[in-house]
């Protein structure tokens, strides 16, 4: 029963909290740049306003264009329900293991890339081709790095991987975990389109990856996409925290108080990681596009080494 409550709680926390996380990250950046910042509630104000605006679709676009935003938001919500963030005993854990989670994330990205192609604009096509390049390098790394952790547990279920770490917290301090953690961190940055792979606040169409795909969206569709992107960011950061620092996460049978503690722990962990990521972005410039595959191939190599290490050191 606490698993169901926990799963509902984590979906609500992610859905409500992820725009606030984006607000916190923008605020951290603004302060480090010497600016005052718009406040952490600004992304919610933007979303509220976008929901009230007129929905317009460009001429010549079809159902692919219209289907992408709900599909992106829907997959993000499902992933938020499956991944162990508040509880390791999500009722959906049995039907969705790490392969399903990766595939769901990929489904959202592919839907958006197809929608960008559907607009027929130069920048849409360019953004779609770049997103696919990044995606093709990111997805195997996510799979392989989590796979390295799953070998120790003997299960691909994310819930049991995290449960095993909770029972034996010192197992995180091993070459396998360190290599997998670094690989997964790089991949998280690439998948969520942050610096150094992509710049979420750029105005230069030629340097865009994710932003180039959503240039043609307006009103409620754009609100859905921005909300879904924020959710994907918080889910991936939360997954990173749960896999390598599962402090305070709830098990199968816990009381209401423990669930509350887990929610607070999740919020604190994800906010800290987001703030750290935003602070790191101030010190970095965006990588040249042709250097991005090198970075991602490096992270894939780390993930592969993690798998090799998990066999040799087991």
């Amino acid at each position: 029963m606490s698993g169901v409550v926990g799963a509902v709680l984590q979906v609500i926390v992610i859905a409500v909290g992820s725009p606030l996380l984006v607000g916190v990250m923008r605020q951290v950046r603004a302060r480090l740049e010497g600016r005052a910042g718009a406040g952490i509630a600004q992304p919610w104000r933007d979303l509220r306003k976008l929901m009230r605006k007129e929905a317009i679709a460009p001429h010549g676009t079809g159902w692919v264009f219209r289907a992408a935003p709900p599909l992106l938001a829907g997959t993000a919500l499902v992933v938020a329900a499956v991944v162990p963030l508040v509880t390791t005993a999500s009722p959906l854990d049995g039907v969705a293991d790490l392969f399903a989670v990766t595939a769901l994330l990929a489904l959202g990205s592919v839907a958006l890339a197809l929608a960008a192609l559907d607009t027929g604009t130069a920048f849409g096509g360019m953004g779609a081709s770049r997103e696919m390049t990044v995606l093709a390098l990111v997805e195997p790394t996510i799979l392989v790095s989590i796979f390295a952790l799953s070998i120790r547990v003997g299960s691909t279920s994310l819930g049991s991987i995290v449960t095993a770490t909770v029972e034996d917290p010192l197992s995180v301090i091993s070459p396998v975990s360190v290599l997998a953690a670094v690989a997964l961190a790089i991949v998280t940055i690439a998948e969520t389109g942050r610096i150094p792979v992509d710049n979420p606040s750029t105005h230069l169409e030629l340097t865009m990856i994710h932003e180039a795909m959503v240039l043609e969206y307006a009103g409620p569709d754009l609100a859905l996409i921005e909300w879904a992107s924020a959710m994907r960011l918080s889910v991936l950061l939360g997954l990173l925290a749960s896999l390598f620092f599962p402090l305070g996460i709830s098990g199968a049978s816990t009381g209401a108080l423990a669930l509350l503690v887990s929610v607070i722990a999740l919020v604190v962990k994800v906010t800290l990681m987001g703030a750290l990521l935003a602070a790191g972005e101030v010190f970095m410039a965006k990588l040249r596009l042709f250097r991005v595959p090198e970075l991602l191939a490096g992270s894939f190599l780390l993930a592969l080494l993690a798998v090799a290490a998990s066999f040799f050191l087991a």
Binding site: R31, R35, A36, G37, A38, K49, K53, L204, A218
Partner: protein
Amino acid sequence: MRLWRKIVKTGRVAEPAPLRDPDAPRPGVAAELAGSVQIRHVDAGSCNGCEVEIASAFGPVYDAERYGARLVASPRHADALLVTGPVTRNMEMALRRTHDAVAEPRLVIALGDCARNCGVFVGAYGVAGAVSDVVPVDVEVPGCPPEPEVIVAALRGLTGR
């Protein structure tokens, strides 16, 4: 580390927010936007003087972003068009199309004397007219170029913050 020391030493450069000018023009549409105005800047033939001032209005010192205004990359994301310069013949159709691409409710800000009444370019052979001759204008910001304070005050009239 050098950058970090610089950040700590510089601290906050944004000037304290002045009181909001209650007389700033606030078209009825602006109330629907509720504190969040995304702006697409359109250079319809400007000399780039206004662009420099817009850049400083959104820079760290004036920080227009703290009032809920933000420059965006696409007219589809925008609520307001910030048009500078007299509308040249080559930009007339582009400005019309950009205006059509913005979702309702939408606003047009004519920034600078050229955008308001063609300024020194009035009657020039390449100029099609002022911004109000091409698209309906909601807010005008005078000045050649307008100072960042004036731009920020006009934007605060739209965001209401």
